[in-house]
Symmetry: C2
């Protein structure tokens, strides 16, 4: 049986650089699909493109307009291939309208001096000792597609309107049902953090991610070694000002390796 | 007299969405131009495009191949204009070859609940009490186009090969000669940090920024209020692995407002 995530990123070739896909009900958001699957399916257009060389290191997706439930087309254009890197320009369209633009860089990694600098949080209890975050009534479908376990004393977000001093979160997260980690699912996980303004203000707001950039620090072998385990994740904002806030987050594998770091800027309305 | 930075980002219209520019010797890098001016001139193509609405909030530039000294063309294509945001797709070409791709999001900002979350470093002595970082022989021209003043005990980077535990920097930085701050110069400042691997390993390495994303937290009025003063800046890396490291940095205005946050992934070779 195909995992719903694989349904959500499935593509059929239309022409040399065009693919068609369709949204998957399991990843529905309040309106249209979860942005993480939109990012993942745009990355997948490159992953399955016959000209693709190497593995993803950077992905930017700009959410230009709403994606409606149903079919869409993605253009993935290889614009330059170098010895170490390959540059792709991406576009997602529905009915001739541009819903998302983006770019991806793929790379041939070679073994070099390597070293971590940032460290994962040291005091997280193991995932299996924490309860899965309760599923709220009214939450969109995609939330049920992730198993999230927040640090003791933390929650996805509170709704008592008592503003916090920060919007930091620490959690374990994995696909639900479990699925072996790969670059496509990691790209979607990069957008699985609840909007920082919900956390900070402890109330809901109208929001929309405008632009999302993710860096992949791990090759497919390191991702495969994670299997179906939870990843350790951290997220925060730097600033909320006049309708836009940023978010930065990290996803760590077991053993403490940084797998991805991700940044986005988000529109909000009070 | 035109400031060299304004020369470096000057563009002439070629056709509806195409502009021509040329590299400026004052911003020469080891090979070709400083990446910060490449990012700034791509942003400037949108800033001066007659269809532009609003002000920049996000800019991504992918450095696909070397830019040679001399003329280049930039295509800036408005692909979608919404009530609050406008999405642009960017490309820089020389002789028919794609040297850089990118995207920009411009936005109409409206006054909302706003709050900082991150804070600038609290213990930086004023810029005028610190010496300007000495200019090394052999440094590329663009380094002389910035006045950098590092925190006491810090330096641009050391070259004794004694690896540090981190790659953090704190510094004051402004254009040299001074120039009133705007979005274009801020876009260039976002790429003015020395490669984190030089700081971490205290030795030079062959490096090249692959992809750069900057978020603008300030509108043009807040930037204009900075005038020609130094900005306070912080930079660090999360991870160095198998040929690629990331960098995140912030630029703060006087009064402590976050003006820009910026992220990049960089190729390195030992």
């Amino acid at each position: 049986m195909t995992h719903p995530f694989d349904q959500s990123i499935a593509l059929s070739p239309v022409s040399a650089h065009r693919f068609s896909g369709q949204t998957c009900p399991a990843y529905a958001n309040m309106v249209g699909p979860f942005g993480g699957t939109t990012a993942a399916v745009m990355l997948n257009a490159v992953l399955q493109h016959p000209s693709r060389e190497g593995e993803p290191i950077a992905l930017t997706v700009n959410f230009a307009g709403p994606v409606a439930d149903g079919v869409f087309e993605i253009e993935a254009l290889p614009v330059r291939t170098n010895r170490s890197t390959q540059h792709w320009v991406l576009r997602l369209e529905q009915g001739g309208a541009v819903c998302a633009t983006g770019s991806a860089v793929f790379a041939q990694r070679r073994q070099t001096w390597s070293a971590p600098e940032a460290q994962p949080p040291q005091d997280m209890p193991p995932a299996d000792t924490l309860p899965r975050s309760p599923l709220r009534g009214g939450a969109p479908a995609w939330v049920r597609a992730y198993d999230m376990r927040f640090a003791p004393g933390e929650a996805a977000f509170h709704l008592d309107g008592q503003e916090q001093a920060d919007s930091r979160s620490r959690l374990w997260v994995r696909d639900e049902p479990p699925r072996p980690l790969d670059h496509a699912s990691l790209a979607a996980l990069c957008d699985s953090f609840f909007p920082r303004i919900f956390v900070r203000r402890r109330r809901l707001a109208l929001i929309g991610t405008v632009s999302l950039t993710s860096y992949f620090h791990a090759d497919s072998a390191l991702l495969a070694a994670q299997g179906e385990q939870h990843l350790l994740a951290t997220a925060r904002a730097l600033n909320f000002r006049d309708g836009y806030f940023d978010q930065s987050a990290e996803l760590w594998g077991h053993g403490g390796a940084l797998l991805a770091s991700t940044h986005q800027i988000v529109y909000y309305k009070e």
